[in-house]
């Protein structure tokens, strides 16, 4: 009877278990510690070899379909670079890649500790809060005199105190820094159509291929960050955040191949096994694989309250559910084959 029930188990029951495994840890906020794997450690050590004032090229070769896995990598990488005075030139081989970079700089939630929130407010930055004791919704904090006023949906606001349990954040990486200047520390050259032709162009002549930036449509030669960049070799590293063609493969084959420039990459978990051979042959200097890779990278760079790290507990429970059902399915198969007589 039980065997028959298990053999014809409705797939929706499995979906229900999976939903519970993901929803409950998300609500309770339970966190498992994340330890960087050797692969992520290698990635981080390549990054730590970069010196202050080095320039890296960040290519956002993905779109919102893989944002869940890859956007945390973009945030953690750019934050690491800005924290360590490494200059970043951003571009995209995918049409929506540059919008995601823009989102990372201006819109994505960047969680900060309470002390940092107070510091940023004193500098006149917009800081937001989600307070468990209040509504649980987003509120903007305004400092009026010695009081903190929590404002929701443009109402008058109410005075409140800054609790340690509440979550504070700013919108976009730009909000954390005072000293990051466009054109000096960071430049966006936007979406470049042509894939491998663009990469080969940059390998030969950066200025001729790229010509202008996106924000001001001015020549890249007008900006201090790219004034001395002649070709791809002048970048200390290329970091491609990639979810398919064009992306990691093209940067390895057409970027690293002819120049030997260090290529680092963050990829979706689905595509990671395909690119591991490049890592072992050292054509790729570092690889982050999926949400786990992103979470490990956040841990390796001490990124505060990263989205990827938050997702790893539900991920672990979901894997346990899958393992349970695999064992159950095999148990039913073995029982039927060896222990049940016709």
């Amino acid at each position: 009877m039980i065997l028959k029930f298990l053999k014809t188990l409705d797939r929706r029951i499995i979906f229900l278990f999976m939903a519970i495994a993901v929803i409950l840890p998300t609500i309770t906020g339970q966190r498992f510690p994340v330890q960087p794997s050797p692969m992520t450690d290698d990635f981080a050590s390549v990054l730590k070899e970069l010196k202050s004032n080095d320039t890296v090229l960040l290519s956002a070769d993905y779109d919102p379909g893989s944002q869940a896995e890859l956007q945390p990598m973009t945030l953690a990488f750019m934050k690491y670079c800005f924290d360590n005075n490494i200059k970043v030139v951003t571009m995209a081989l995918w049409p929506l890649g540059s919008k995601l970079i823009e989102s990372a700089l201006n819109h994505d939630r960047i969680y900060i500790p309470r002390e940092k929130a107070i510091e940023l407010m004193s500098k006149g930055k917009n800081v937001y809060v989600i307070s468990k004791k209040r509504s649980g919704a987003e509120e903007k904090i305004e400092k009026r005199g010695n009081k903190y006023i929590f404002i929701r949906d443009n109402n008058q606001g109410e005075e409140s105190i800054l609790n340690n349990e509440d979550k504070y954040y700013v919108k976009g990486l730009y909000s954390i820094y005072d000293d990051i200047k466009y054109g000096v520390d960071y430049l966006d050259i936007g979406y470049k159509v042509g894939g491998l032709v663009v990469i080969q162009g940059i390998v030969n002549d950066f200025e001729e291929t790229v010509k202008t930036d996106t924000l001001n449509n001015k020549s890249v030669l007008d900006y201090p960050i790219t004034r001395n960049i002649k070709n791809l070799k002048d970048f200390s590293a290329v970091f491609t955040i990639s979810s398919g063609n064009m992306g990691i493969k093209e940067w390895v084959v057409y970027g690293n191949g002819p120049t030997g420039v260090k290529v680092l990459s963050g990829v979706t978990a689905v595509s990671a096994p395909e690119f591991l051979p490049y890592l072992t042959s050292k054509q790729l200097s570092g690889l982050l694989a999926g949400l786990a890779g992103a979470a490990e990278f956040e841990a390796a760079t001490n990124y505060y309250e990263g989205e990827a790290s938050k997702g790893m507990t539900p991920q672990s429970y979901a894997h346990l559910v899958i393992i349970f059902f695999i064992l159950l399915g095999n148990g039913v198969y073995i029982t039927e084959k060896y222990f049940i007589k016709e």
Binding site: R12, F15, M18, A19, V22, I23, T26, I27, T28, G29, Q67, A68, E69, P95, L96, I130, S131, K132, S135, G136, A137, E138, D153, K167, G190, Y191, V193, L196, V197, Q200, V252, V253, Y254, N256, G257, P258, T268, A269, V270, A272, P273, P277, T280, S281, K282, Q283, A289, G290, L291, A292, E307, K310, G311, P314, Q315, A318, H319, I322
Partner: protein, 221 residues
Amino acid sequence: MTITNDPGIWVAAILTLAIFSFLIKDNPLYKLAEHIFVGASAGYYVVITYHEVLVPKLVTPLSTGAVKDNPYNLLLIIPLILGIIMLTKLSRKHSWMARYPLSFTVGVGAGLGITAVIKSDIISQIYGIAFQKPLWFLVDGKFDFTISFFNLIYVVSVLSSLLYFFFSAEHKGVIGKTARLGIWFLMISFGASFGFTVMARISLLIARVQFLLEKFLGIMS
């Protein structure tokens, strides 16, 4: 818990739930959300391509002033014509014409790619396995068993997997047994790929659940 007032988040949440409804059963709500997704994505790509590719790379350089400044811009008429010919794919009668721009694209791709791909995917890979995986690995002059052991597995797995696809000799005796070992390594790699795929799909689910709980329902973890 406070449900958001943001209409954008409401639309995103309703569409997310509509897509999830497929898990129970195929239904019109799912179909509607799927069509909206495909249509909105295609529309968005068209707009992006128009503003970020066609206008700056074709329309502006072909404008009167730009051509006066640089007459070579007129050469852009060639890719414009090739691009228009590509659209003949939509007509059964004239679709043969699209072979010309396609052959041009394939030719450029092959010409640019062949040497680079041979270097990266063949020569560097052979070099990697032949010279970067020593079976007797020394660390500070001392034999490192772990690295040497994994290098040995690496070399054996590559050779045995390759042998499985070698059909010029019958898979019997030593060749047969080695090829069988190769299948085991292939199966392990397929398992790893499947595991990564599962992780990727769950990651997408987690992101949607986080969105629904935190941004839509206002439930703070």
